[in-house]
Amino acid sequence: MNNYKLITKQNLHSFFDALQPKNTIIAPKEINKKYYFKPVDKFEDIALDYIQTVLSAKSVLFPRSDTLFNYHRADGDYNIDEPSPIEKNTIVFGMKPCDASSFVYLSNFFLKDYQDKNIKERLEKLYIISLSCKEADNACFCTSVGSNPASTKGSDLNLTLIENDTYYVEVVTEKGQELINYSADLFQDTKEIDKSKYIANVPQKFDVEQAKQNIDSIFESPLWVKDSLACLGCGICAYACPTCTCFDIQDIGSQFNGSRVRNWDSCAFDLFTKHASGHNPRPVQSQRWRNRIKHKFEYSVENLGLISCVGCGRCIRSCPTSMNIVKTVQIFQGV
């Protein structure tokens, strides 16, 4: 249903002002030269020229700690209440195309067999305005996983800065049109434009089909150990990743009052698979690193038909020991 529009930077400001009162707007914000998604209420607070945020925007759908229900003990019985549904719509403003595409994966994953209520409610009220990349860095590799810096996949609206402080707007979905309708007169109709000259050049670093095949075939290899010696098993890569979905379920509170909460977890943690008996199916870090890589490129394809990596490069940028998923894939491509 793509239709194409233009909006000036000034009008974008007005568009924001039109959206802001009725919606919760999450946008990248600069804090000490790093970028984080934060709720914003002023257009000026939004960072429009950034390469990547430290953490992805997945938490708008799948928060770090998500309350599943609250319980309260009374007369030996328990009352169970579900958290009240969110009222406002949430708009993520200025997310990068790679992140936007992660929402395609996330919604597929969480709604495939069992409809996760929390996620479904949030998804229904979620609007994504993505911003094509003017710049990229060494860690970016969206083009290697079937995407590009101006992809509209997963977006409701996509903005690409063209010339004269003007944004080329692609209305990708009905939801996108809904947003336009807040203040349609700020937009000007146009024809389809070739965005390629306005966007960053992200060189392709590996062939994803080839990579998948290589990774598929190798389970036992000394390369897994060699490649992961530096990995310390912290959870940054999974926590920063827009498509990592592993979680833990815990009760917070006492036997009288409390909540059952879903917390992020990471398959890099050594206790992730450990049984109560003490047996651990993945006792060493190389096995956990292998699981992560194979999950991204092999297992999720088998289960959902989708690669669970969008090439945002966050895991590479944030790894304290410079572990590099691209390098790993390249190593196996070279096998």
């Binding site: 328990y78 409809q115 006492s254 398959c267």
Partner: protein, 279 residues
């Protein structure tokens, strides 16, 4: 709200607590809300998430048979935070349960065959559900043999039921304890499960075997089963990876692309060999 919160547990009242062995208890659980009970259905081999409010959830199988309506039973060993909290529960307390999850034993496929159950220690509870299911549909199966072993006499679970099965003419029950675990009045076998199996050597033709117990027992039992005529497809076990959600999302139980909670826990030996060794 059009979608249901899959994490909301059924409230279950603990009707009866049986101390089976040191640190092992069986709970008989009844639904607090009658409509939950009428909506609830499960098949043998499936499991659930049992929870103590304030302590969290823990995964184990439903140890009763679907043919026994109106309640479910579970048997667990006190090990972690949740099982300790469960262990401390009283009759009449309310706990949470969600499920059933996972696949089940393909009982329909076994009709007309002999069934051999092999269990070790706390591996009997999942098998017990199948045993009762088969016994309640006794006519559909040929010979039913149960081989159950534990470290010591004290560690044998379901002692009353073992007596009951021993008395039944249509069941062959062999119980064994590890050398040194016997008491002066112990009348069963003494020895490890694999060697007792070899000694008994039930026929593997037109038969299925269900094996559940500690990994080492399973490892040593399989070659003997193959030796006495069972095929890889006719040997079933149930996997016990760490699980959190029960619905194939949290990632804990993943063995390669396979989710034990969704694609398992019941698996035959042929399929098991296709999985990466991460269970």
């Amino acid at each position: 709200m059009n979608s249901q919160n899959i994490y909301l547990p059924y409230k279950m009242r603990i009707e009866k607590i049986t101390e089976e062995a040191p640190m092992v208890k069986t709970f008989k659980l009844a639904f607090v809300n009658p409509e939950d009970e009428s909506n609830f259905e499960f098949k043998t081999g499936q499991f659930g998430e049992y929870s103590v409010f304030g302590a969290g959830e823990s995964t184990f199988c439903i140890a009763s048979s679907p043919t026994h309506k109106g309640y479910i039973e579970c048997t667990f060993r006190k090990a972690g935070k949740v099982t300790t909290a469960l262990y401390n529960c009283e009759e009449g307390d309310i706990i949470g349960f969600r499920g059933p999850y996972g696949n089940n034993f393909p009982l329909e496929d076994w009709e007309g065959k002999s069934v051999l159950f092999i269990a070790g220690g706390i591996g009997l509870p999942p098998v017990r559900s199948v045993i009762w299911n088969c016994l309640d549909l006794r006519d559909k199966f040929k010979d039913i043999t149960i081989l159950y072993g534990a470290k010591t006499v004290q560690d044998l679970v379901y002692k009353n039921e073992l007596e009951e099965w021993a008395k039944r003419p249509d069941v062959k029950l062999i119980t064994t304890v590890d050398p040194g675990g016997e008491t002066p009045d112990w009348k069963g076998e003494v020895g490890f499960v694999p060697s007792i199996l070899k000694k008994a050597s039930p026929k593997g033709e037109n038969a299925v075997a269900i094996v559940c117990g500690p990994p080492i027992m399973i490892k040593l039992t399989l070659p003997i089963l193959l030796e006495i005529g069972f095929t890889e497809e006719s040997i079933f076990t149930t996997l016990e990876n760490r699980m959190k959600c029960g619905i194939g999302q949290c990632g804990h139980c993943a063995v390669g692309p396979y989710y034990v909670c969704k694609d398992g826990p019941v698996i035959n030996y042929a399929d098991l060999q296709l999985l990466p060794v991460e269970y």
